[in-house]
Symmetry: C2
Subunit: 379 residues, 2 copies
Amino acid sequence: MTITEVSIPERPRAAYRVCIGDAILPAIIPELQRDWPGLRLFAVTDASLRDHGHLAALVGDHGIDSFVIDPPGEVSKTLRTVEAILTALETRRYGRDSLLIALGGGTVGDIVGFAAALFKRGVPCVQAPTTTVAQADSALGGKVGVDSGLSKNAYGAFHHPARVYMDCGTLRTLDERHFRAGLAESVKHAMIADAAFFGYLEANLNRILAREAAVLEELGARNCRIKGAVVFQDPEEAGLRRILNFGHTIGHAVESASGYRLLHGESVAIGIVGACLLGESLGLTPPGIRQRAAALFGRLGLPVAIPKGIPESVLLDAMARDKKAKGQTPRFVVLEALGRVCPAGGHYVVEVRPEMLHTVLTVLAGDGGLAIENGELSI
Amino acid sequence: MTITEVSIPERPRAAYRVCIGDAILPAIIPELQRDWPGLRLFAVTDASLRDHGHLAALVGDHGIDSFVIDPPGEVSKTLRTVEAILTALETRRYGRDSLLIALGGGTVGDIVGFAAALFKRGVPCVQAPTTTVAQADSALGGKVGVDSGLSKNAYGAFHHPARVYMDCGTLRTLDERHFRAGLAESVKHAMIADAAFFGYLEANLNRILAREAAVLEELGARNCRIKGAVVFQDPEEAGLRRILNFGHTIGHAVESASGYRLLHGESVAIGIVGACLLGESLGLTPPGIRQRAAALFGRLGLPVAIPKGIPESVLLDAMARDKKAKGQTPRFVVLEALGRVCPAGGHYVVEVRPEMLHTVLTVLAGDGGLAIENGELSI
């Protein structure tokens, strides 16, 4: 037998720019054309953002091809939609010299980033996030992908954006429910990494809810610094990056079990309270943090309890499929202080005995006034 | 406006092992279980390899789950097949702790490697190539992907294998046509990088065609060294790696235009002769090389002319979609000597005027006795 070896070279350190400002959409394409003159630009957005005029603001009279995801939302976050975008690119004879622009929320960014990762084995993608959840979280860090019939983000890739443009002005056309839900990711960042930022959120919540440009820009910049630092230390989630999943094990399960009637941020708010309860049960999370988080979520109008009508078995099943699961045992990120995650020997996740998980899910269920009845979310 | 930056850390140099030997399939799973005890193994092959008993030889009595691609061949190299594999993994509750084994030819390796790249944003994949084309070429280097309706390998990723096992014994069950066609990739390696290897092929062709174990092992090791060195210098085809596409611009176009009735290696043989003609027309490739290549292909029973019945317009259209194309202008790898590619200022590809391409395609067409008639390949 002959044994030989093939080497994979190192990849040097790199960086991408994040530009945050108000009404910056019209400046994006001229800047991209200046910085990457050899590339053909292709914009993708969804029907809702097109109807709000944001696609027109981006494209202007630059004659850029575009694709509109319709219907908007999680229902379109499938391999089918990715394939439709790829087919559109091929039909219009785009090649490796393509640059995709993802204009939209987390769903659009995940779909388009994934399409860019797959097209001709990878073309650059510029993220232009337009929602609180995408500006705080999903547009940064390179995680892209789609849902399967069985689980969220089941198929995906790591594909870092070539650049990120956060236009805070786009947040003003976001409906109140989505605007508020997305702020749960900012709360998450504060809780896992920056207690002072948590104080900032408490102190400035009214100005955030009034969507003041200066505060939204500051919010974007702070989220970016927190997430950027974590992703730099662990780009492909070998350990530390798991802390960004704080609140997401239960959160994803609730979101999926609600048939996506609960928004991602709403589900994460519930998941964060659940993760605090788990941390307290394990004796790792000090008391008081959960109450402060719940109070902030209360001011945001976000739920902090699992809606009635979701059986625990469905949640447990979803958690067993969670990407952090080991075998089929779910693992959870818990806090050891406000602004600090329990390192758990470098794993940053802990396993929880089934009885304890059962108790926490019981406490977390049914006292929040929400219910799923006849397939609809009611309050 | 706030401008900040997110850093992407370096990725250190890595390596994977390539094990080449005779009848080594039964040793693979025990070795993987020893080296990666935490991972759940999942084998994927195609119906033809299963019917030849290779899946049974691999799996033994180790109780490993498996998936069989049916029908075998390029027709199954689609996103649909990848999705079927991913669904099988999810249904059986595989998670990030999965390791996929791709047992088969280039098609199986490309499909399974791509599925592994996408599942939970990437799980390891072990390649166990069973054909001359896969052992020489496709199992190494990390290029994975599937065809679209419009072009070959349109969607894909770079996903380096965790390990490669080349069982030369599996080559003995390969039908004569596929066995011979796959050797075109060895000829290609010799022509772009190793004139001495070209001499080895000329001298040992009869022993190779007799499928002598020792010669097949030597063949695998030499291919591995050539391809490994190229891939290490340019893993994601920024320049040098393009030399591996020698013969493939015309080759892919002919393969696709024949409706995949011509095999990949057969198409590459035609493409290599075409690339020599182009190189000669440009005054870059010395005379004589084409004749030596054509003589070797002749001994291999491989075609060296474009089959009748394929319109030039269809070939030009396919070449305009080639991944090396710039805009819609195809680019070609040409030789400056036997064993050495024309560096072309570090691009390793040259553009060719349409009239010259027309002339070469005309010379290359119709004198080889092959024809596509009524949708069938005839000789």
